[in-house]
Subunit: 234 residues, 2 copies
Amino acid sequence: MLRGVYSPSDFPPFAVTVDLVVLTVRADALCALLVRRGEAPFRGRWALPGGFVQVAESVDDAAVRELGEETGVSGLHLEQLGTYGEPRRDPRMRVVSVAYLALAPDLPVPVAGTDAAAASWVPVSEVGSLAFDHARILEDGVERARAKLEYTPLGAEFCPAEFTVAELRRVYEIVWGVSLDARNFHRKVTGVEGLLVPTGESTARDGGRPAALYRRGSAAVLYPPLVRAPVQSP
Amino acid sequence: MLRGVYSPSDFPPFAVTVDLVVLTVRADALCALLVRRGEAPFRGRWALPGGFVQVAESVDDAAVRELGEETGVSGLHLEQLGTYGEPRRDPRMRVVSVAYLALAPDLPVPVAGTDAAAASWVPVSEVGSLAFDHARILEDGVERARAKLEYTPLGAEFCPAEFTVAELRRVYEIVWGVSLDARNFHRKVTGVEGLLVPTGESTARDGGRPAALYRRGSAAVLYPPLVRAPVQSP
DNA sequence: TAAATAGTGTCTATAAGACAATATTAA
DNA sequence: TTAATATTGTCTTATAGACACTATTTA
């Protein structure tokens, strides 16, 4: 269709929302931040946090705003996940939703924000059906997070500001659902340039010999990557 | 904001469009499909092809439809690239655009489609400023395509149905802007399970010893990947 | 002391990169 | 024949994965 010729039928009114897949690692499980809906449709059902994009703000800004409202924290990693635009995904009207993925450390407790509905961290393995197409969006977010750990330093986003190699390894083990050799993992991550910055401190919070504490480094990519080998068909 | 409470101020009307980054490799260059705008704003300026999402179709379907209209071809690889939603990206009204990346073989000539404006393949290195925020979208699309070649078999999408290893290698060289060792590349791609299916035929269209012809295999990922080593800081 | 976790070293297999050598065609 | 491109093989180096071993703490 010709761009530039505008007639009312060209732009049927859409509502645009943002939905957030906020993931954290807590209690040995990958958890998503969910809210319980207080209104129809899907009243009482779990859903992803989110809301309408306002006229004066960009879609990305709306995501940042909603994330702050839901978690009470700013500065978390936030990236676009995808846009979901099936005609009947919201039974009431045509809503196009831009989904975002956020990775968070183990935050004390979800803040209900301006929303009166309950918010909770739910292990992704225990998430049943969700409102709208949110189950699909959550799945896509989890898969994106898993892939991101391979070639970016984002695993550290799940950790507190200072963390040990073992804590980072547990993030990988929980998100990927595998177990990793502690010794090879240690050699690998401490060998990647710019990934970890030693603080000089150490902690014995995991028991045993105290472990060195690190902060996130400035590396934007993890090279060579930490690959999950695909399942081989024998 | 509470999902489920709808009031007019909650959903200011947005228009939703799709924009297409359609890339091909031709004449030793990575080229993008661009259209020249026939109307204000940005009249006479190059822009990405695209158009409005209709009420009854999904956003993804709108992208497929527009791609067919612009190229006259269906079945091309098409994936979401990202959503661009700055408030003033279109000077006339609030438009949120969902961008898609399509990879195409060297199609004979762009079809103007239902659009009267001229369409053309333009080498991405020669693209100047574009209408709206399309230069940024194109950049993102090119970078996505470059990254995709590393760990997916999508390089073959730029090739005709039957192609030689050298033709596939030239795709990588042109898209990445590097030169690759023909012998190592050959060993690599013929060694990846499910990437290339030999047709049994061969061709001498490149001169010299005839090369075996292959079709795309069924592999969805390229493992191990064909990595571009990042530039090392010495 | 034992138990637990942290960290280093060593070996092997795989794969990437450099590049020699051979193969098969056209001019 | 020479020139051009295709394909195979060989060597070196980097890295992943398995796992022995040492180090440092608490109980």
